[in-house]
């Protein structure tokens, strides 16, 4: 049943996000720390466990796959709901600090990767 896949995804999401909330509180931070990351790892572990048990069928995978494929549309909707006006009309300092480090970071990435391969 498709709903089993969606339910496992929901279980992973909720458990992971809750871990992130508690970790944030534990660290004294007003933010979720790594919730999505925990959720992804929980989902991957669930998948492996189900595979071993032989309970992973195509219907089940379809339930997760639908949301996987909805990802790009969600991102388009997210872009359309950003506060773009404030970003482009906040004066020169905002543009300077918003743009220069980002461009610099892009060109740092290859060195970062090279460094880690040593």
């Amino acid at each position: 049943m498709i709903i089993y896949g969606v339910a496992i995804l929901a279980f992973s999401y909720l458990t992971g996000q809750l871990c992130g909330e508690y970790l944030g509180q534990f660290l004294g931070v007003k933010a979720n720390v790594g919730g999505v990351g925990f959720a992804m790892i929980i989902l991957l572990l669930c998948k492996e466990w189900l595979q071993k048990k032989g309970w992973l069928d195509t219907e089940f995978e379809k339930g997760v796959d639908f949301w996987n494929k909805m990802y790009i549309p969600v991102i388009i909707a997210m872009s359309a709901s950003q506060n773009v006006k404030v970003a482009v009309s906040s004066g020169f300092l905002a543009v300077l600090v918003g743009v220069v480090p980002v461009v610099a970071a892009f060109f740092t990435l290859p060195y970062l990767i090279k460094l880690s391969q040593k």
């Binding site: 992971g16 660290l27 720390v33 999505v36 796959d65 996987n68």
Partner: protein, 252 residues
């Protein structure tokens, strides 16, 4: 007219599905017919979303782009953090746990490096600009991490509301720029494998920018970028108002 308005209001999220579907279709056509596939349809759609968000902001004076228009509220719900995180988690289904574990160290290093890099860069630029008090500098530096770290730090340090607004603007600008530049620069900087995507997520950190940028580059890389980027905002909120502020205060 009133019936219609109520109807749209009641079915907001479904209207969002339709609007985004149409936008994605038009972008795909534009990508194929006009640009001959030079930029993928998803990249055009994300860019079109940002442009529409700008006009939404101009028309309504609101903060949520296109979704501030009453009949497009559903677009905001569809693109909100709940759906965003839920679908990102779903992308993990296609990822390999082993690869993530192997590149975990690189992810951690780039995460810490990324936060320090953006913070120091942001503070230095603001300092050159002539800002001298530690709380304002720290808030601006935090803003160049993400648009959440900025205001959280500013509120913790008691920065002025102008500086907090500035830090949000910087963070939003970063997210937009990462979105646009990632598909354009990916090839040049070797962003074409899971390990590189994990380093990229940690370095850039802006959740929305990284996830949108990688989606437009290669959707298979999204889970790897997201798994590190998700720690960035939390760590930034932890480090900026505490250790970074103390160090900054010591030097000034």
């Amino acid at each position: 007219m009133e019936i219609f308005e109520n109807f749209i209001d009641k079915n907001g999220l479904i209207v969002g599905f339709l609007v985004i579907g149409v936008l994605a279709f038009l972008s795909e056509v534009f990508s194929k017919k006009v640009l001959k596939g030079y930029l993928p349809g998803s990249a055009i759609a994300i860019l079109a979303g940002l442009i529409l968000a700008y006009f939404g902001g101009v028309i309504t004076n609101g903060e949520k782009g296109l979704s501030d228009l009453p009949f497009l509220k559903g677009v905001g719900a569809f693109g909100g953090s709940m759906f965003r995180d839920f679908t990102i988690v779903a992308t993990a289904m296609g990822a390999s746990y082993l690869t993530m574990k192997k590149a975990g160290w690189l992810g951690l290093v780039s995460l810490l490096f990324g936060i320090v890099f953006f913070f120091v860069f942001g503070v230095a630029l603001a300092y050159v600009w002539g800002i001298r008090d530690a709380a304002s500098l720290c808030t601006i530096g935090a803003g160049s991490c993400t648009y959440i770290v900025g205001p959280v730090t500013g509120a913790a340090l008691g920065a002025s509301s102008e500086v907090i607004a500035l830090s949000i603007a910087i963070g939003v600008l970063k997210a937009i720029l990462v979105t646009i530049l990632t598909p354009l620069l990916a090839k040049k900087i070797g962003l074409n494998n899971p390990a590189a995507a994990m380093a990229f997520g940690g370095l850039m950190g802006t959740n929305s920018g990284v996830s949108a940028g990688l989606a437009a580059t290669d959707p298979a890389l999204v889970p790897y970028g997201a798994v590190t980027a998700t720690f960035y905002t939390g760590l930034g909120c932890l480090l900026c108002p505490s250790i970074f502020y103390l160090v900054l205060d010591f030097f000034l």
